[in-house]
């Protein structure tokens, strides 16, 4: 295959991946970082990274796992710097300025709040399982852990959620 054909094929595959999965990946990022603009930035970064790394993929079919993993890593980086602001949130009352009234996505429901209190790995696994409907193999590929660890983490995460919601 000529280089030009390869490039065209890569563009086509990337465009298809984008068409089919962009929205769900933004949704995944929304659940992890809490706001749309940041989620869009994270997904943008992930697709740019995928484009640059496309030639290095062992198989084009692994592009989706690549971009999902990139989105989750991007969300963790956002957490790192956003935590500075969040840690000081209780002090807002001291300010004359009214705090922002837009609730974050994660503040919108009892169950979502309980999810937020879980250890990071459990939270990620549950979101991948119940928002993206991924199976154990897909979650394992995304998080680079074993399928056994995925199953254990799902079970423990659900149990922890049930405890927090008083349903155990």
């Amino acid at each position: 295959m000529r280089p030009a054909d390869r490039a065209e094929g890569a563009s086509s595959a990337l465009a298809e991946l984008f068409r089919e999965h962009h929205m769900e990946l933004v949704g995944l990022a929304v659940l992890m970082v809490g706001d749309l603009a940041t989620a869009e930035d994270v997904v943008q970064d992930a697709f740019e990274g995928l484009h640059r790394g496309w030639q290095g993929l062992h198989q084009p079919s692994s592009g989706l796992a690549y971009v999902r993993s990139s989105v989750l890593n991007g969300c963790r980086s956002v957490h790192r710097r956003a935590a500075v602001a969040r840690r000081h949130a209780p002090r807002l009352a001291e300010l004359a300025i009214q705090p922002d009234e837009l609730p974050t996505a994660a503040e919108r429901g009892e169950l979502a709040q309980a999810l937020r209190l879980l250890p990071r790995r459990q939270r990620e696994v549950l979101v991948l399982r119940y928002y993206l409907d991924l199976d154990a193999a897909e979650i394992a590929a995304t998080l680079q852990i074993t399928q056994g660890a995925v199953r254990t983490t799902v079970a423990r995460g659900l149990a922890a959620l049930a405890r927090q919601l008083g349903e155990d």
């Binding site: 465009a15 980086s77 956003a82 919108r108």
Partner: protein
């Protein structure tokens, strides 16, 4: 358990639908200039397909000037580096400090950090690490606690001791070159504020403190009530200077900058007296938080960034003019979108860099090359030498 699973599915979808319903989802944009934060966030939306093609075209066509390599031969690499990486043990979040040989990455010894105390359930906390100039003394921050790690000369043993300092919820900590003092950048009164083009976190109380590590006593404080963006990064560049991050903040002269230099030997307590550090034209930090370091002589800023040709590398720019001086190394074979310098060797010629993408890893950048090193597997992992 089935009902809980159904509720989880339903509520997660509802959250996403509600959030996305607040505004149309923005399509991808061409990458150039997109990291100027609040200035350009919404300036260039194009159709999704056109943008994908634009990304491809931009990256394919852009092959311009090859940056110069470092003019100085590789010398003075610290004998080892220390990583602090997130690990999960019995589903609890813990960290281990590991000493690695710099040349090979081989793990020489390790010390488990105690479980972080006083962290509310579910609250995020992070680690940071910085090194003194003696190559053997490291300051580790874990949530609101500080630890001193003293490493033996051969790197094969290390002693961890907790310091008599209780940090405020804080942005970052840096160790002075002589190992006696910590510079602490902290922010409070932070909230999401509406700017012209969207909502961004901002703080109205920013402070840098110097703390004696022997006594825990604060010896100097600089502060401001000006609106700043959370920076979460500081480094102690020389005995009398600290470099810190204030993304997009305007200083006393009204000049906006990301990186600021504070002379801690000068009198005064106004943080706005810090000097903005110019960055090169076309500067495009490869990550939203462009960690940077100053060389020991104070003349050169080292950071990782995208270059004008959409590649990435660790660059050296003049701290006075912002002009690109040389490249420590290109990040060849590495997704360039998410690399950050974590630590700079004392000679200023060797950088430890953490890169993101589908997986997170550490590398050494020197002599024009990027060399992958073990020790970090998680976005929360940190390293210093």
């Amino acid at each position: 358990m089935a009902s809980l699973e159904d509720r989880l599915r339903s509520e997660l979808r509802q959250i996403v639908d509600d959030t996305m319903g607040q505004g149309s989802v923005r399509p991808l944009r061409a990458p150039a200039r997109r990291r100027k934060r609040r200035l350009v966030r919404w300036l260039a939306p194009v159709t999704a397909m056109a943008a994908v093609i634009g990304v491809i075209t931009t990256a394919t066509l852009a092959r311009s000037l090859a940056p110069q390599q470092s003019p100085v031969a590789v010398t003075g690499m610290p004998p080892y580096y220390v990583t602090v990486d997130y690990v999960t043990v019995d589903h609890a979040e813990n960290a281990t400090a590991t000493i690695h040989a710099s040349a090979t990455g081989t793990a020489l010894s390790s010390v488990r950090l105690p479980t972080a105390r006083n962290v509310p359930t579910g609250q995020l906390f992070f680690w940071s690490i910085s090194a003194a100039a003696d190559d053997q003394t490291f300051l580790i921050q874990q949530a609101q606690e500080l630890f001193m790690l003293r490493v033996s000369a051969d790197g094969r043993s290390a002693q961890l001791s907790e310091l008599p300092v209780r940090l405020p919820p804080t942005a970052d900590v840096a160790l002075s070159p002589d190992g006696s003092t910590a510079a602490i950048e902290s922010m409070s009164s932070c909230r999401t504020m509406e700017f012209t083009v969207g909502y961004e976190p901002a703080c109205t109380n920013t402070e840098i403190r110097l703390i004696s590590l022997g006594t825990g006593v604060t010896t100097r404080t600089w502060s401001t009530t000006a609106v700043t963006s959370p920076g979460a990064w500081i480094s102690w560049t020389r005995a009398s200077q600290v470099l810190f991050l204030w993304p997009g903040t305007a200083g006393a002269t009204g000049q906006a900058a990301d990186l600021w230099l504070l002379d801690v030997s000068a009198p005064g307590s106004n943080l706005l007296a810090a000097r903005p550090v110019p960055m090169p034209g076309g500067y495009e930090p490869s990550s939203p938080v462009p960690y940077a370091f100053l060389t020991p002589d104070g003349s050169t800023v080292i950071f990782s960034a995208m270059t004008d040709d959409s590649s990435a590398g660790t660059q050296a720019v003049s701290a006075r003019t912002g002009k690109l001086l040389y490249m420590l190394g290109q990040h060849t074979g590495v997704d360039p979108s998410g690399c950050n310098v974590l630590s700079l060797g004392p000679a200023g010629l060797h950088a430890l860099v953490r890169c993101g993408g589908p997986s997170v890893f550490l590398g050494r950048v020197d002599n024009g090359r990027f060399t992958r090193l073990p020790g970090i597997t998680d976005s929360y992992g940190v390293a210093a030498w």
